[in-house]
């Protein structure tokens, strides 16, 4: 096997692209820290997204409402996909707002499902339609089981 060195032009391009990649990693606002939740100025605008749900979506009922396992499954899903930004107890982090506040807890299950499905892409929340519908409803079940602004551990 030959072992000639990488061409200078290739090396320069590689370095340039690696630098651009590193810049994307290091400078964009998506990289806010975790840690204790401190309410931010734009939280109001984030919660305002809940009011944009269409009437049809607001009226949807949670088909998992009476499923005894839905909260536990939702807690697992929340831990896997949501806790990174919203905190292990949904209390909020610097990256994502609290989900225990009145605006969220008083929203209908259909509204929460709609927001979960569509995300708030401009403000950093991805769409979660890649989770199958029943899993999204399980997460909604878990969210609705949370008591507002307490620090009780999640159901296992």
């Amino acid at each position: 096997m030959t072992t000639t060195m990488i061409r200078p032009a290739t090396k320069a391009n590689l370095l340039l692209i690696a630098a651009a990649f590193a810049l994307a990693v290091a400078t964009l606002p998506a990289h806010a820290q975790g840690g204790t939740y401190v309410p931010k100025k734009n939280d109001g605008r984030v919660y305002a997204e809940l009011t944009k749900a269409p009437k049809k979506a607001i009226a949807r009922r949670n088909p998992m409402e009476k499923d005894p396992d839905a909260e536990a499954a939702g807690a697992n899903l929340f831990d896997q996909h949501c806790a990174e930004c919203h905190g292990e107890l949904a209390e909020g982090t610097r990256k994502g707002p609290s989900l225990r506040v009145d605006q969220v807890q008083q929203a209908t299950p259909g509204t929460l499902f709609w927001l979960l499905t569509n995300g708030v892409v401009r403000r950093g929340m991805p769409v979660w339609s890649k989770l199958p519908e029943p899993e999204r409803w399980q997460i909604v079940s878990y969210l609705k089981s949370l008591s507002p602004e307490t620090t009780e551990p999640k159901p296992q």
Binding site: T2, M5, L14, I17, A30, H31, E84, G119, P132
Partner: protein, 318 residues
């Protein structure tokens, strides 16, 4: 048709300007060093990755998360030696609407040699804020690869099996700079994802025409409800599907004439222990295609990678 191509003069790829691209062990070593270093300062989370290897759906990486992936392809080769190609992939969610990725490619041609074949920088941009009936994503990639690149991450233009028959010592002398664009269309309905990718590629070295290709895919988790307890072998951890991809000629000769096409079942296993495994046996659909491609891959997602990097450079502490 294929045997004629392999025994006569080199195919279209070989007519491109030839420049030498060397082995690059330092680049490969750097990629694997990064792969090993990454877990040291970020915590993992369970991924919910699609099963596709070639096709893209409309889901981007979560903001601030880094997904490190390794993929292999074993391919049969008529008129030459079989090969094992591989790539390392670093996929980062810059925002909820922009994902950027860096690839490092290499290959081993049996009875020949193992070489680094180039790198790619890929970007995907979500075009619409919310979910719609069809969700478009714009894909833009720059790649600098040698003619020995065999990862077959996409098939376009008049790519045929005979293009890959040359020994590495010859094919690596060809040096391509390509701009690749794709329009990714995808929809998920009742657990089924359906995705279509339209590919347009331009090799900016020489006067090569735009080349076109496609990839189609559909997949579904084996169960749509999550279990109340975490488990390795629960059906919801498995996603199965099928992909079909191939070339559509170029600007001067658009169509299926002298193009290759593949059909590949795919399965992904999303482990609760943070890893995703993928497997896909692919079958050539015509005489211009490799008869068999066996692909497999492993990936791991690291959330809050951006925060970890920021802290390294004096960012805010938790």
């Amino acid at each position: 048709m294929k045997s004629a191509l392999s025994t006569q003069q080199p195919p279209a790829r070989s007519s491109r300007p030839r420049r030498r691209i060397g082995d690059a062990p330092p680049a490969i070593l750097t990629a694997f060093f990064l792969f090993l270093l990454t877990p040291a300062f970020v915590t993992p989370a369970r991924a919910q990755e699609s099963s596709y290897i070639v096709t893209y759906d409309h889901y981007l990486e979560e903001p601030g998360s880094l997904e490190v992936e390794y993929f292999s392809t074993f391919g049969t080769q008529r008129g030459g030696n079989d090969f094992h190609s591989f790539w390392a992939e670093f996929e980062y969610g810059a925002t909820a609407w922009w994902t950027t990725e860096l690839y490092f490619d290499g290959q081993t041609t049996f009875n020949d040699s193992t070489i680094f074949t180039g790198f790619r920088w890929e970007n995907r941009f979500r075009l619409l804020q919310r979910e719609h009936f069809i969700n478009p994503v714009l894909y833009v990639e720059y790649e600098q690869t040698s003619g020995a690149d065999k990862i077959l991450k996409e098939v376009e233009g008049h790519d045929v099996e005979a293009d890959y028959a040359d020994p590495n010592s010859i094919s690596r002398q060809e040096h391509d700079h390509e701009i690749e664009t794709k329009l990714l269309l995808s929809k998920t309905f009742q657990g089924w994802n359906i995705a279509e990718n339209t590919i347009a590629t331009k090799n900016v070295t020489g006067g090569n025409p735009w080349e076109f290709g496609y990839a189609l895919g559909t997949s579904r988790p084996l169960a749509l409800k999550a279990s109340a307890h975490r488990c390795n072998f629960c059906r919801e951890n498995f996603i199965a599907g099928i992909e079909m991809y191939g070339g559509l000629g170029d600007r001067h000769s658009f169509g299926l004439h002298e193009t290759s096409h593949y059909l590949a079942p795919v399965v992904a296993w999303n482990l609760p222990s943070d890893w995703t495994l993928r497997l896909s046996p692919g079958f050539g659909l015509n005489d211009n295609s490799h008869r068999f491609l066996l692909r497999w891959g492993v990936s791991r997602e690291f959330p809050n990678f951006g925060s970890a990097i920021a802290r390294l450079f004096g960012g805010r502490k938790q």
